[in-house]
């Protein structure tokens, strides 16, 4: 059975129950009809000023006939919660998952236990899946290292493979084979030269050509913050419960700030692109981020799926010039 997810959750539990995890974000954003999916949701009554990710996921659930969805009701956003409520008349089973704001261990455990119960899964089996995934997550960590240390993996590849770790594209074996293939190919590459090294922080972009544009501008994306969090690689040695406590995205901003600051120094990032989604509460974090970081920060706001606007491109190009001038 396919189990949809609206955000990263303990995927080990889904896999342990023998189900196929489907990250609805990924299906939506790579769809050639992504823009139409957003319009479909608006035709169904969604307001203009709701997040496009939420609208896209709404339409994706209907289009793909997905009838079991794990919804992150706390730690992602309340727009998702409202979204599932608009689907109340459909025969879809929603399983809530709430990350506690203070990352309280007992509460995280309770949420995982409830997910296990809802999916008829099993804790020990989930731990076994975690063991199975460990070498794969380690390979992804290696891929990340090759992005920033060696420069042989592109920022786009880094984004794509890391963001896919929320559901391993539904097929762990096939995904791992693809990762192996990329690693092998990348070992033979010579690193490309670039104008500046940047980090990408914030939710994954809704744009289809962002990484391509950055590459054309000579900006090497040597850090993808949230995508890296999706890989759980920073908690590679931890037990299953701790892994989801270390995961920074669903909790407060402060662990994220620490992670970003550490990696900015480690990876010698010269600037940060802070991606924000239109109508998302996370836009407010831009202010905190700027105060905390001492490298230039460019806020990039995306609304609908598709390509970057001329204005976005101008901002990015000027950012590249600014970073180059600082060298």
């Amino acid at each position: 059975m396919e189990v949809g997810l609206t955000s990263t959750i303990p995927v080990e539990i889904i896999l342990a129950a023998g189900h196929t995890p489907v990250d609805l974000n990924n299906i939506f954003v790579v769809s050639p009809q992504a823009a139409q999916l957003v319009r479909d949701a608006e035709a169904a009554g969604y307001p203009r000023n709701a997040c496009s990710w939420v609208k896209g996921i709404y339409s994706t659930i209907l289009q793909h006939d997905i009838n079991t969805v794990v919804v992150v009701t706390q730690g992602d956003c309340s727009q998702m919660q409202a979204m599932i409520e608009t689907l109340a008349d459909h025969d879809i089973r929603f399983i809530p998952f709430a990350y506690p704001y203070d990352r309280d261990r007992a509460q995280v455990k309770e949420q995982m236990r409830r997910l296990i119960e809802a999916l008829d899964s099993d804790w020990d089996a989930a731990v076994a899946v975690q063991e199975r995934l460990r070498p794969l997550r380690a390979k992804i960590a290696r891929l990340d290292e090759m992005t920033w240390r060696e420069g042989t993996v592109t920022g786009y590849e880094n984004h794509l493979y890391q963001v896919s770790c929320s559901d391993f594209t539904g097929d762990v074996e096939r995904f791992e084979a693809e990762v192996d293939g990329l690693l092998q190919e990348a070992f033979g590459r010579t690193p490309r030269s670039y104008r500046a090294r940047v980090g990408f922080v914030g939710v994954p972009p809704i744009y289809c050509n962002l990484y391509q544009c950055l590459e054309e501008l000579g900006l090497h994306v040597a850090f993808n913050e949230i995508q890296r969090q999706f890989t759980m690689a920073p908690a590679l040695e931890c037990d299953l419960l701790t892994q989801y406590q270390c995961y920074t995205y669903p909790y407060d901003i402060f662990a994220r700030l620490e992670d970003i600051a550490t990696e900015t120094a480690n990876r010698k990032l010269e600037g940060i692109i802070h991606y924000v989604q239109s109508f998302c509460f996370r836009q407010i974090y831009d202010h905190i981020l700027r105060e905390a970081l001492d490298c230039p920060v460019l806020a990039l706001e995306g609304d609908r799926p598709g390509g970057l606007t001329g204005r976005d491109k101008l901002r990015l190009e000027a950012f590249a010039e600014t970073l180059e001038a600082r060298r």
């Binding site: 230039p296 204005r311 101008l314 010039e321 600014t322 001038a325 600082r326």
Partner: protein, 259 residues
């Protein structure tokens, strides 16, 4: 070395021919961009060359900037308005640490380091409210010449409060104020306030340090200039030809890149 800077903006195309070694502009040209940015760039450069009394082959290095920079043919480099305005303003005033460019369609604020390189910048997003185009629409609604708007605003005893920040809605707000028989000068002052407030919002994220240089066509509007000084609590310098600052910066960067 003789260099050229061509700035094809959303509303106007500007070109400056520069004696790079002395830093002295030899010729300049300002004209409407019209429908073809490529044509506008070419014509503006020809105009600046004529003004300088030079032939095209005198130009040893050139840079195109502005939103139409990609369309301008035959230039050596294309650089964004951000870098060009920073360079141009710094050339005119080496003490400049903040540059605000209010053009026809875009507003930009740039922080500079001591050497005149941009450290950080901000742009208005997705909306022409707070730019020259906004003022043009409003001047038409008030039935006054754009050039008079600033002086008219200065003559007002108070500024009409305009709540809307969107060009379209602000226009209907202006029309209702006129219908209420509000003084035209007060409405003009309110519009200048609106521009200043919008610009403030944009600069909030930046560290605005003196000297502050205001350029772009809207800098010619004395009402906006004064409203911005009040809003920022800081003296603001407007160079003599504020609309040409980007083209001047482009000509300087051309010389620097050519070495």
């Amino acid at each position: 070395m003789i260099t050229a800077g061509i700035d094809v903006g959303a509303l106007t195309a500007k070109a400056v021919v520069l004696d790079f070694d002395t830093g002295r502009p030899l010729g300049r040209c300002l004209m409407p961009t019209g429908a073809s940015p490529e044509q506008a760039g070419e014509t503006a450069l020809a105009g600046a060359l004529e003004d300088a009394g030079l032939e095209a082959d005198a130009i040893q290095a050139s840079v195109a900037t502005g939103y139409g920079r990609g369309a301008v043919q035959g230039v050596d480099w294309r650089i964004t308005e951000i870098s060009c305005h920073a360079r141009g303003a710094w050339h005119l005033m080496p003490e400049a640490r903040t540059v605000i460019d209010l053009g026809g369609q875009d507003a930009k604020a740039i922080c500079l380091d001591e050497a005149g390189w941009p450290l950080d910048f901000e742009m208005n997003d997705r909306c022409a409210a707070g730019t020259g185009r906004f003022l043009e629409v409003m001047a038409a609604a008030l039935d006054v010449q754009l050039e008079e708007l600033g002086e008219l605003a200065a003559s007002a005893n108070s500024a009409a409060a305009l709540s809307s920040t969107c060009t379209v809605f602000a226009e209907s707000e202006v029309i209702s104020l006129l219908a209420e028989n509000r003084d035209v000068a007060e409405i003009a002052a309110g519009l200048c306030e609106t521009i200043a407030q919008r610009t403030m919002q944009m600069t909030n994220r930046l560290q605005v340090r003196p000297e502050l240089v205001l350029c772009g066509g809207v800098a010619l509007n004395a009402g906006v200039h004064r409203a911005m000084e009040r809003a920022l609590g800081m003296k603001i310098v407007v160079p003599p030809e504020p609309q040409l600052v980007g083209a001047l910066g482009a000509a300087i960067l051309a010389g620097e890149r050519a070495g």
